[in-house]
């Protein structure tokens, strides 16, 4: 039973950090991630029974993101565009900061390039969810989690490396 405030408080204490990080990585927006995480815990309060807490939380959070993303996709796209423009127009004060920002931007692009299910599985795994939990949260067959994760990792790393090569080529061109 997870329908008392104490239970949900315990859930919150145990999983909020992971869930917010997962959602932040998924959404690229910490505030949005926190909103979704909070909504997830509110839903948990309404739930009479949760068998696997962590899988349930991640599944509900993922569904919330999907629902909201569908609803707000156009608005979000517009905002993302604005954010991108803003990012490009801004000059970073320190080289290390710029370096890290570039790495993060590339990582973001590479993550965004993944198929949704691969991306979610990978992000959940990063938060320590076990294979059966990922299967439950994403409604995958338990045997396919390994395949999903290995595909996600390979594609992520490949996309990142390709972005890195592009950048190096650009910098080389700019230098010459």
């Amino acid at each position: 039973m997870v329908n008392t405030l104490t239970d949900v408080e315990r859930l919150f204490r145990t999983y909020n950090t992971q869930l917010v990080r997962y959602l932040t990585r998924r959404l690229g927006d910490r505030d949005w991630a926190e909103e979704v995480a909070q909504e997830t815990f509110v839903r948990a309060l309404r739930q009479t029974e949760i068998v696997n807490e962590r899988a349930w939380l991640f599944a509900v959070a993922t569904n919330l993101v999907r629902d909201e993303a569908r609803r707000d996709s156009r608005r979000r796209r517009h905002l993302a565009l604005l954010a991108e423009q803003e990012r490009e127009s801004r000059t970073e004060p320190e080289p290390t900061t710029l370096e890290r920002a570039q790495e993060a931007a590339m990582a973001r692009k590479a993550v965004d390039a993944l198929a949704e299910r691969d991306r979610l599985a990978l992000l959940m795994r990063e938060e320590g969810l076990e294979y059966p939990e990922i299967a439950e949260a994403l409604r995958l067959s338990p045997g396919s989690v390994g395949t999903t994760l290995s595909r996600a990792r390979r594609r992520l790393v490949e996309s990142y490396e390709s972005l890195q090569r592009e950048r190096e080529a650009r910098e080389k061109n700019a230098a010459s």
Binding site: R21, T24, R25, G28, D29, R30, D31, A83, E86, R87, E92, T97, R100, A101, E103, A104, A105, M106, A107, R108, A110, V111, L122, L123, R125, E126, E130, Y131, S144, V145, G146, T147, T148, L149, S150, R151, A152, R153, R154, L156, V157, Y160
Partner: protein, 326 residues
């Protein structure tokens, strides 16, 4: 056994395979170079992917919020949270302190036309704040702040002060529209008197003593006695009830005196200021005559303020006098 597929290798590395299956994989990897290389590659991919996901959290001050480099929002900062907690506690303490007196205070404020002080002098902050923070009717040693209302109010957070002010004013507005019982008991202090400035009725100087009679609103007079004192005295609140037989009053004052003797310096004999006859005559209902006493820490002078008012009202008059002096 055929070569291992990538999914199985990842699952095996991450300990997600059942024991029997894991044992088979282990055995195969040990004997198969190709699969051994695949395992090494998979380990690299797992580590690299993990690193990239961590990089997502790492945008400094960017539009994509991240955890580490993002400045903590002001409302999350510990020191501010602590400060806020202090303010809240202070505010609640004030609320609690004032809450009990609210009715009385409201009535007295209406009666004394405290708002007129604010309007007359144009000096912020209002004297209510000083009264709220000062040990009203208490037996504490008077502080400098009592004669300087401004310094007291300076310690009261502005926001809290404002919210009280609003609360009080809205309550006042209601009370003025519908005078409560407290007002009915002091009919001389009608809402019509609000805004009436204090007027000096008479000044009586004797040796080592100055007695000033103020009219704070039509028909309501208070007497301020100023005595140069050599020692510090404490705030003394005395009370006598008009209409009670003189013997009873004497007995009452004697009782109060003996009670006070226990608590304060015996060399300072407490003064129960007899209320002037005309003041007593003003109240058609048995108005209570009270006195408050304090010492100016700068001059050492001792003051006694007497009038047909509650102690809180007298404190307000005191605040007004202090305000007028400045």
């Amino acid at each position: 056994m055929p070569h291992l597929d990538e999914g199985t290798i990842h699952a095996w590395i991450e300990g997600a395979l059942p024991p029997d299956e894991a044992a088979l994989v282990e055995e195969h990897v040990a004997g198969c170079d190709e699969c051994g290389a695949a395992v090494a590659e998979a380990r690299g991919l797992i580590a690299a992917a993990s690193r990239m996901l961590t990089a997502l959290d790492d945008i400094p001050g960017g539009v994509i919020p991240s955890r580490a480099p993002r400045p903590t929002p002001w409302y999350m900062r510990r020191e501010l949270q602590a400060a806020a907690a202090v303010l809240i506690v202070a505010g609640m303490t004030l609320l609690v302190t004032r809450g009990g007196r609210q009715q009385e205070m409201t009535a007295s404020r209406a009666a004394l036309g405290v708002r007129s002080v604010v309007l007359d002098t144009g000096v912020a902050p209002p004297p209510e704040a000083a009264v709220a923070a000062a040990p009203v009717g208490g037996s504490k040693t008077p502080k400098r702040t009592e004669t300087k209302p401004a310094s007291v109010t300076a310690r009261v957070p502005a926001a809290i002060e404002q919210s009280f002010q609003k609360e009080i004013e809205s309550k006042e507005a209601r009370d003025i529209a519908e005078p409560p019982k407290a007002l009915a008991l002091a009919p001389t202090a009608s809402p019509a008197t609000i805004g009436t400035p204090m007027r000096v009725v008479s000044v009586d100087r004797r040796i080592g003593r100055k007695q000033t009679t103020y009219e704070i609103s039509p028909g309501v007079q208070v007497v301020l006695v100023e005595e140069p004192a050599t020692a510090l005295s404490e705030v003394v609140v005395t009370g006598t009830v008009a209409g009670v037989a003189p013997t009873a009053r004497r007995a009452e004052s004697a009782r109060l005196q003996s009670a006070r003797q226990k608590t304060r310096d015996s060399t300072l004999s407490p003064t129960v200021q007899p209320a002037p006859a005309e003041t007593q005559a003003q109240g058609p209902s048995p108005a209570q005559i009270n006195s408050i006493q304090w010492t100016d820490p700068e001059t050492g002078s001792r003051y006694t303020l007497t009038g047909p008012l509650t102690r809180e009202q007298l404190e307000l008059v005191k605040a007004r006098l202090a305000e007028a002096k400045r």
